[in-house]
């Protein structure tokens, strides 16, 4: 007979061990999935997790890609984690990411082709502001009308996608190339280009921003009253009110921070690796960042590691599509499995599984 016992204190060991265990289980289950697709599982797993970094043939291309893919994930996840700790669930980072990109690109396209050092900083501010604004919709609806921020933020992703398509086909379309959707290529507009800072590393301003965000988030969560209030509200809402925390204020702050960071990530992407406002610009970073936040245990440092890992699966997934003709959806299944195993394993952080004999239910 299997019995579950609630632990007196959550197990520290499993808190740290579970993410690693989840990765291992994902590799095994993913391997089985690949085998059922008729691919060699060992090759596929190696291609996804090891080759992007260690392969001699494509390492030089894919290594810089690692930071390019991970930076937006980390930037978004750091913001989401703050809200998640307070039990405020922003599921719509993808939408805030898109709107941030549109605001950033909008500033660039408005100034085109003028040069000026101030254009890029303005784009940064606009990107953050765009994401912030988009996140304020669920925040204000929640504080005013008590709507559910999970639903509202999620549904606004689809609204943002429609706006993105409309912009790519209409207002922001490149007027110089008739008939093609998509804006001007910002990589060809020097004042707006988020270029690689150190050649061959993939480091662009988004990576720097992610690093700064991680440090700020860490300091805020451990040393600042706001971080204390976030944790209080998440763990004991009544104690938080006793401690003078205003729940409405916290909703606005948490959604605001995560929205602004997601907007920033979108802006750095559209002005750099992405290059232009296109219909297919959004690549799911906003959703994958949810996995990153949980896999990183909502801890800024853990999020860096988890962001790098999930960034790796993006590159590995592309390699798998190229080399083994793996379906593109396979990598999303893969990422989903990771979250699934992690949440399942987390059960044993709070509960102990006991095998007993002859006990009655």
């Amino acid at each position: 007979m299997i019995r579950l016992e609630k632990r007196k204190e959550p197990s520290k060991f499993w808190r740290i061990a579970n993410p690693f265990l989840a990765v291992a289980l994902t590799m095994i289950a993913g391997g089985i999935m690949f085998a059922m697709l008729g691919k060699d599982p060992i090759t596929a797993i190696r291609l996804i997790f090891f080759d992007p970094i260690f392969s001699e043939t494509f390492g030089s291309y894919s290594r810089p890609q690692l930071l390019i893919k991970s930076a937006p994930l980390i930037l978004i996840a750091v913001g989401l984690a703050i809200g998640f700790k307070a039990n405020i669930w922003n599921i719509g980072a993808e939408g805030q990411y898109i709107i941030g990109a549109l605001f950033g690109a909008g500033v660039a396209l408005a100034f085109f082709p003028q040069p000026g050092w101030y254009i890029f900083p303005l784009m940064v501010i606009a990107g953050a502001f765009g994401g912030f604004l988009w996140a304020m919709i669920p925040a204000i609806l929640k504080t005013r009308f008590n709507t559910n921020e999970i639903l509202v933020s999620l549904l606004l992703v689809y609204v943002a996608e429609k706006i993105l398509a409309a912009m790519a086909l209409g207002l922001m379309r490149n007027p110089d190339i008739a008939g093609f959707p998509g804006s001007r290529d910002l990589r060809r507009y020097e004042a707006a280009y988020n270029a690689e800072l150190i050649s061959g590393t993939g480091i662009h301003w988004g990576v720097v921003a992610a690093l700064i965000a991680v440090i700020f988030a860490y300091a805020m969560m451990t040393r600042h009253m706001l971080g204390y209030h976030v944790q209080l509200a998440g763990q004991a809402p009544r104690a938080a009110r006793f401690g003078g925390v205003s729940p409405a204020r916290l909703v606005v702050i948490c959604l605001g921070i995560s929205g602004a960071l997601a907007g920033l990530a979108g802006m750095f992407e559209v002005s750099g690796p992405g290059g232009q406002v296109r219909i297919e610009f959004a690549s799911g970073y906003g959703f994958t960042a949810i996995i990153v936040a949980f896999l990183g245990r909502l801890n800024p440092i853990g999020i860096v590691l988890a962001g790098l890992l999930l960034g790796l699966t993006y590159i590995g997934g592309e390699l798998g599509q190229m080399m083994l003709q793996l379906p593109g959806a396979a990598i999303q299944v893969f990422q989903g499995m990771l979250l699934f195993f992690l949440l399942a394993l987390d059960f044993q952080t709070n509960y102990r599984i006991r095998l007993t004999q002859g006990a009655r239910a």
């Binding site: 959550p10 040393r223 600042h224 009253m225 204390y228 009544r238 104690a239 006793f242």
Partner: protein, 508 residues
């Protein structure tokens, strides 16, 4: 000597780190009213949980009506005629009385039959109860009747009652006692758990006293004085708290004609509350649980805002201010619920010291927390209030209820407030710690602070309070001097016996 019903023989139960029961043996006779006395942590609950089949003893046997008795679960205990009324009710607010009773039965009869049986039993035992009423609308006393009737429907031979009077007015207690005496005369034994000595002396014919998991005595409580029983229970001589007599000072806190809707659908709204609290005064507010105590505390702490001008601290309106703004101005509070309200369960004691300390102790600079200073503050509380814990890094939920209470009250007292409001300051705290907390509150008053104690423990209020008022369905009685009040008068202030007298008269 009565014929024995249940014999306990050398019952022992150990939990990691504590021996909850150590070789406990005694007998309960058929129809006997047997008291089980002891402080918090003496092992009373573990013992009755073993009798009720919730916990398995490590060693020892039980014999019920000459047959070995080892229930593996409560349903088996109930089949053998053992029933229990818990201190905390397991009732659903949104269901009616009959539905609640049915949920607790093994094979509930059809609802209509059940309703009739509930009426019959409640009339027979003088416990009026309407099976169709929603439990959420019942008073605490009525809820307890639901639990008792649920037990009586199973025709028990042994009824275990855990602290049954803590939620009752003195008049309601009298009615409960009549029911219990009637049951006893019909042959149902009652195991009565309490730490209220006068009650036990009035009701029981035998008492078993536990201390530190061991049985220290079995005696006839009617032959001992309450003081003798208390000293057996605590194992030391108790000194009542002392207070220096001094004139009353200025008004520190005043509330005028305040009505406030509860933020909880099953809560009690405050109706036209008025009182004044002076410097150096201890104002005791009595009342049965659920008569507006929580709402009164939330209103004073600032967690529920109130119309400006009706609540004043040192003549300044504070109704619209939040908890921290009130703390800065000198008003601190300690809510009843320690875990989850007065303290965050999954945070360390240091982090919990910051919860209310942030506003008054200079622990935060420019929004950044001085953890070193906060930890020093937490250690001060732990040392001064004798909080038993390995250190300030321990999570609040790892502390026993009494220890956490000492920490919470200690934290608020250490903030050196002008006015302190506490709800149930010694609930679940052992006698010596309770005496310590009361003394600390009295010292605060002697130093010129205003102290407002909300409590359901009348003995406590009579011990500390200079003036006295009672909450009854959200209304506060006029404040009276505590000196010279009788328990009878207090009972009437608390609302007498919440419309429960008639049935007994009818039944008799």
């Amino acid at each position: 000597m009565r014929q024995p019903l249940l014999r306990l023989d050398g019952l022992t139960k150990a939990y990691p780190g504590v021996l909850a029961n150590d070789n406990v043996s005694f007998e309960i006779g058929i129809g006997q009213m047997h008291a089980l006395l002891g402080e918090n942590g003496a092992g009373k609950s573990t013992l009755v949980k073993m009798i009720y089949g919730l916990v398995k003893p490590d060693k020892g046997q039980m014999v019920l009506r000459d047959l070995p008795y080892a229930p593996a679960q409560p349903s088996e205990a109930r089949k053998n005629g053992v029933a229990m009324v818990f201190q905390h009710f397991s009732l659903f607010d949104a269901l009616d009385v009959a539905e609640n009773v049915a949920l607790g039965m093994e094979n509930p009869p059809a609802m209509r039959d059940l309703a009739k049986r509930i009426r019959d039993v409640s009339e027979e035992y003088g416990l009026p109860l309407d099976p169709n009423r929603l439990v959420g609308d019942l008073s605490a006393g009525e809820r307890q009747r639901v639990e008792i009737v649920r037990c009586l429907l199973q025709d028990p031979k042994l009824l275990i009652m855990d602290e049954p009077t803590s939620v009752l007015t003195p008049q309601e207690v009298e009615i409960l006692f009549r029911t219990l005496r009637q049951l006893s005369s019909e042959g149902t034994a009652i195991l009565y758990i309490s730490h209220k000595l006068e009650e036990i002396r009035a009701l029981c014919d035998e008492a078993t006293i536990l201390r530190g998991g061991k049985k220290v005595a079995t005696c006839d409580p009617r032959e001992k004085s309450a003081r003798e029983l208390a000293e057996l229970m605590v194992g030391q001589i108790l000194t009542p708290p002392e207070r220096a007599a001094k004139p009353r000072g200025d008004v520190l806190l005043s509330v005028e004609n305040l009505s406030l809707k509860s933020n909880n659908p099953f809560g009690t709204s405050l109706k036209d509350i008025s009182f004044q609290l002076h410097a150096g005064e201890v104002l005791g507010i009595a009342g049965v649980a659920g008569n507006g105590q929580d709402e009164l505390l939330l209103m004073l702490s600032g967690e529920i805002p109130s119309p400006s001008g009706q609540v004043k601290l040192k003549s300044q309106p504070i109704g619209q201010l939040g908890p921290n703004a009130r703390r800065v101005r000198g008003l601190v509070t300690a809510p009843e619920e320690r875990l989850g309200h007065a303290a965050a369960p999954d945070m360390s004691l240091t982090a919990n010291a910051l919860l209310s300390g942030a506003a008054r102790k200079g622990l935060v600079k420019n929004g950044f927390i001085d953890w070193k200073k906060t930890d020093t503050f937490a250690r001060e509380i732990i040392a001064k209030f004798d909080v038993r814990t390995p250190g300030s890094h321990v999570l609040a939920r790892a502390l026993s209820g009494g220890n956490l209470q000492k920490f919470v009250i200690g934290r608020e007292i250490e903030l050196a407030p002008d006015v302190i409001v506490v709800n149930q300051p010694t609930w679940g705290v052992d006698a010596s710690a309770a005496a310590f907390i009361r003394q600390a509150l009295l010292d605060l008053a002697s130093a010129g602070a205003g102290v407002l104690v909300i409590s359901q423990d009348l003995d406590e209020l009579l011990e500390v309070a200079d003036s006295f008022a009672a909450l009854n369905e959200g209304r506060l009685t006029p404040v009276r001097p505590a000196k010279g009040l009788t328990v009878e008068e207090i009972g009437l202030m608390m609302g007498g016996a919440h419309d429960m007298h008639p049935a007994h008269e009818v039944a008799e």
